[in-house]
């Protein structure tokens, strides 16, 4: 494997990590706000808070890791994406800031403040949409080179069906991933009311997720035929992803094996995500930037990979400890441990 492919694989894996933990986080915030609105907070809030509280900071790091790593391995992306993405990414940053800090304000400072919860929930729904613009742009066709400087064509971006398909997918998938995960979590917590409610949400969002996902493949056929053809070459990955989707919904429907169900869900998105990513090869920004012409110098690449391996040696055990103490700790999940926060 060349260093370029290794670099992009590492980054894709972190992006995938962010998509999963971020989706759970964003969706949880939305469901929490929605339950306040519909008077069901008694059912959901406890389960959601217990999951979110120890991990809210960690979620954010996955994103930081991805964009810092991107600059490190592929510095030219700073030039292309940095110049063109000022507005959408600034908006995403503002949403992230409001969301992150108001979560802390609500949880630690002013428990039960409804305004904070609504802000938190609404920001969580807009965030996947604003971040997914980057995916749209990477497909090409929205950036013109003017005097050697990239310029984003907003009119083309906002009138393209591809843009909206990706936006809708990101929202639907966020709510779906989150609901499936929280169904399992609520079930583990031995909370049948929350389990049933979240199961219902998961079933509601399953269909829109799969429809928009298929829609994107359809849109790509017109928008970027080259990518579409490569996508077809990897058909088996998408078939597997579809099969895992059916498995997830089946278990959800039958109320069985919620633990296995979460793994099927992760598998489904992993196959779809990596299939999509691999078929995008070798472009980072079609057709201006490939992973080869933007790769950093060999000295830096080697240094980054060494730092990465050492960093993982530190992080993986720490993450494992975090999961063991909270996510996989029966007493904590069920609320028996008196783990009141500081």
């Amino acid at each position: 494997m060349s260093l370029e492919v290794l670099g992009i694989s590492v980054l894709m894996t972190f992006l995938f990590g962010y998509i999963i933990v971020g989706a759970i986080d964003f969706g949880a915030g939305f469901f929490n706000a929605y339950s306040l609105l519909t008077g069901k907070e008694r059912i959901l809030t406890n389960v959601i808070q217990r999951y979110l509280s120890p991990v809210w900071e960690v979620t954010n790091v996955f994103l930081v890791f991805f964009f810092v790593g991107m600059i490190g391995f592929f510095p030219s992306t700073a030039f292309y994406y940095g110049t063109t993405m000022l507005v959408p990414l600034s908006l995403a940053l503002i949403l992230l800031a409001v969301r992150g800090s108001y979560y802390a304000f609500e949880t630690y400072g002013a428990r039960g403040h409804k305004g904070y919860s609504f802000m938190y929930g609404a920001a969580g729904l807009l965030l996947p949409a604003s971040l997914s613009i980057v995916l749209t742009i990477s497909e090409g066709g929205f950036i013109d080179m003017v005097d050697g400087q990239p310029v984003l064509d907003y009119a083309a971006l906002f009138t393209s069906p591809l843009t909206w398909a990706i936006v809708f997918l990101s929202i639907a998938a966020t709510l779906y991933i989150s609901a499936v995960f929280l169904t399992w979590y609520a079930w583990k917590a031995g909370d049948p009311d929350a389990t049933n409610l979240l199961r219902k949400y998961a079933l509601i969002w399953a269909l829109p997720t799969i429809i928009t996902a298929t829609g994107i493949v359809w849109e790509l056929r017109n928008h970027n035929p080259e990518h579409y053809n490569q996508l077809l070459g990897l058909w088996w990955m998408f078939v597997l992803s579809g099969a895992l989707f059916i498995g997830t919904v089946y278990l959800l429907w039958k109320r069985r094996n919620y633990g296995l169900m979460v793994w099927l869900l992760i598998g489904q998105f992993a196959f779809a995500f990596y299939g999509y990513g691999i078929s995008h090869y070798p472009y980072l920004l079609y057709p201006h930037l490939t992973i080869y012409d933007s790769f950093t110098n060999p000295a830096m690449a080697t240094a980054l990979i060494i730092a990465f391996i050492l960093g993982l040696a530190l992080l993986v055990p720490s993450l494992y400890l975090l999961l063991r103490m909270f996510l996989f700790n029966k007493d904590y999940v069920k609320g028996r441990k008196k783990d009141e926060h500081a």
């Binding site: 900071e57 700073a78 960093g311 720490s318 975090l322 926060h341």
Partner: protein
Amino acid sequence: MGNEEAVFFSRLLTELTLSFHIIYATIGVGVPLMIMIAQWVGIKKNDEHYILLARRWARGFVITVAVGVVTGTAIGMQLSLLWPNFMELAGQVIALPLFMETFAFFFEAIFLGIYLYTWDRFDNQKKHMLLLVPVAIGASFSAVFITMVNAFMNAPKGFDLVDGNLVNIQPLAAMFNPAMPTKVAHVVVTAYMTAAFVLAAIAAFRLLKGSDHVYHKKALYLTMKLGLIFSIGAAVIGDFSGKYLAEYQPEKLAAAEWHFETEGKAPLMMYGVLDGQEVKYAIKIPYALSILAHSNPTAEVIGLNDFPEDEIPPLYVHYLFDTMVTIGVLMILISGVFWLGRHLGWRFIQSRWFCWLLVAGGPLSIIAIEMGWWYAEVGRQPWILRGIMKVPEAATTSGQVDTMLYLFALLYLVLGVGSVIVLRRMFRRNPVEREIADREQARIEEERVKGGDLS
């Protein structure tokens, strides 16, 4: 918007974001160490008050961390959004510490989560304290790594420039550039110092507001002692920084000191105003600049007139430098007098006016941090990478920077006001007297249940 405007607004937005971020970041670097020390003292002396101190600090710390994290994410991404050409170049040379900073941040985030939610899980407080070690290490090392990046901008090393191309890149040499040791040390130690004085200010304020509890007195004594140690450290390292500047970045030192002519036996100018090249109303300390720069009263110090006019930083940095140094010296004096007074039994350190001075110490230290950063950053104008890339070459060509500036200004206003309101409410609603009483009650309750089990 032309490029010139984009450059102007990009500078403004970066300055705004960083100025806001460093308030929370400095607290974020310093406070975990203070919590750790308080917890340790509590275990050592077997004194519940210090443990409670650690707990209450930790509770407030979460709010500042949240704002620090989100504004840190903002500046991290803004670097690429506002300075894409700089980041493209920096990515090739200095990405390593940038990358390592996220690891340090990750490490801190994981253990902070565990620490906060296991307050009552361990019966042994020592075990719980161990969780703070990675938090404090992670926090300090984020500062170390990110300051390395900034040091690189002041003293770019670790590559060769051949016909505008970067060759022969050595990531480690870029990290350990000449500006790194003094910069990193000064940033870390002033963060500890500021955190100590901010926490001291809170304790002093509670004492002034009529709470006479021994808890606040213990808090005040502990933090002032730590503040004294770290402020002396800051001054010593500040002196090393001056010597570094004289050697590697003489124009920054000369601009701070309004030192125009290259000469030996150079005097130090304190305060004053500038009229053309004439310094008025300044306090002139003979030989002091030569001593500061080279530890030798007759050594030659390079003056501004030896530099091309378009490579000289704005001369107003003198005021920033003076404010920073004045506050630093003042804080050493205040904390020194407090410490001496406690040992020699001076009555006046318990008077209201002295207590107000201690309260002022917190905000003053934060002002000194801001002044120091502005001096360090404006002092390397017009360069973004000293000697390599000027600021206008690095900026974005995007036309919407001004709108983003207003949006972010609004965001920081909301976050700033929000965090102050939440912090005030948190501690107002649950004053320490009540918390001590509650915990006492809970313990009696527990003993009774245990006793009941036995019988």
